[in-house]
Amino acid sequence: MSLPPFERFYEAHREEIYRFLTRRLGPQRVEDAFQETFLKALRAYPSLRHGEHLRAWAFTIASRVAIDEHRRPRADTELPELSSLDGRPAFAQLEHLADELPPTERAAVVLRYGYDLDYAEIGAALGSNATAARQAASAGIRRLRRKEQR
């Protein structure tokens, strides 16, 4: 599949990436992260060799932007929005728990159970591989279980 014009890529993924970033960062910080994600994508776009896995690639970039944002000291103490309007009620119940996980585990859990990406895609998203992604997700889930039992 050849690489589509960037306009097509942007139209296809902007809403989903926006929702993902809103859940990760909350409504106050989502707009800068959204712009940053798609400007980064635009810079890297010509170096892609084909048009496959573009969705996973978009999540890759958004996850990294979100992780960088999380490492930055917060300007305020605003809490991430607990969204349940995007048709994923089961995960929404769990998601606020995931907020306290370390960034990589959190990204792996959210991408796996919230966005249904497979481990290869999540590995790509996190700049590692499928095995590392699976480990991060299961470590995240174990941590959540322990927390629930306390």
Partner: protein
């Protein structure tokens, strides 16, 4: 709250152009002869298409100029203004930089001659061929007109048959007639 607002969308598109990240910026421009898809590279205007339904046009632009094709209104503002003035009857020639670097030599030469045909005048295919130093190439000139990437700005509507008939126009004969009437070349 859970959707990209028009304002955020516009800010991203503006930023992409401002940071010089686009191979091609395009926008849809309304005109009395229908919506136009107007596209520009950083060198200048590269495409005006009558079919504003851009699916195939975007693919073509990506193949020719690079995949970073994005709708963004700012880079098209100058073209939009000049086109508006032209359709209002307030502009007789275009001052926009144009990008025809990718065209074959012969096409560029013919389009260069075409650009000199004044507002409100017409020329025959054969005459234009002669001006491009290829007097027997009237048919080839017809093909160049048919593939003109910048109709209106490069005025292929001013080229007509030796018998005075309008002959053809990539945007449809009706538009050719409207443009010539606007310029006062026909009644």
């Amino acid at each position: 709250m859970n959707a990209v607002s028009p304002d955020l969308d516009r800010r991203f598109r503006d930023a992409a152009a401002r940071e010089d990240l686009l191979d091609v910026a395009y926008d849809i421009v309304d005109s009395p002869i229908g919506s136009l898809l107007v596209a520009a590279t950083q060198r200048g205007l590269c495409r005006i298409a009558y079919d504003a339904e851009p699916e195939q046009e975007l693919e073509r632009l990506a193949r020719s100029f690079g995949v970073r094709v994005l709708r963004s209104s700012k880079p098209i503002d100058a073209a939009r203004r000049e086109l508006d003035e032209y359709f209002e009857g307030d502009r007789r020639r275009f001052d926009l930089p144009i990008d025809v670097a990718l065209l074959a030599d012969f096409n560029r030469r013919v389009l260069g001659e075409l650009a000199r045909v004044p507002y409100g005048e017409v020329v025959t295919y054969g005459e234009l061929a002669a001006r491009a130093a290829r007097p027997r190439a009237a048919r080839a000139v017809g093909t160049v007109m048919n593939r003109n990437p910048l109709p209106i700005v490069l005025p292929c509507h001013r080229v007509i048959g030796a018998n005075g008939k309008l002959v053809g126009y990539a945007g449809g004969l009706e538009r050719k007639e409207q443009l010539l009437r606007l310029e006062g070349a026909i009644l």
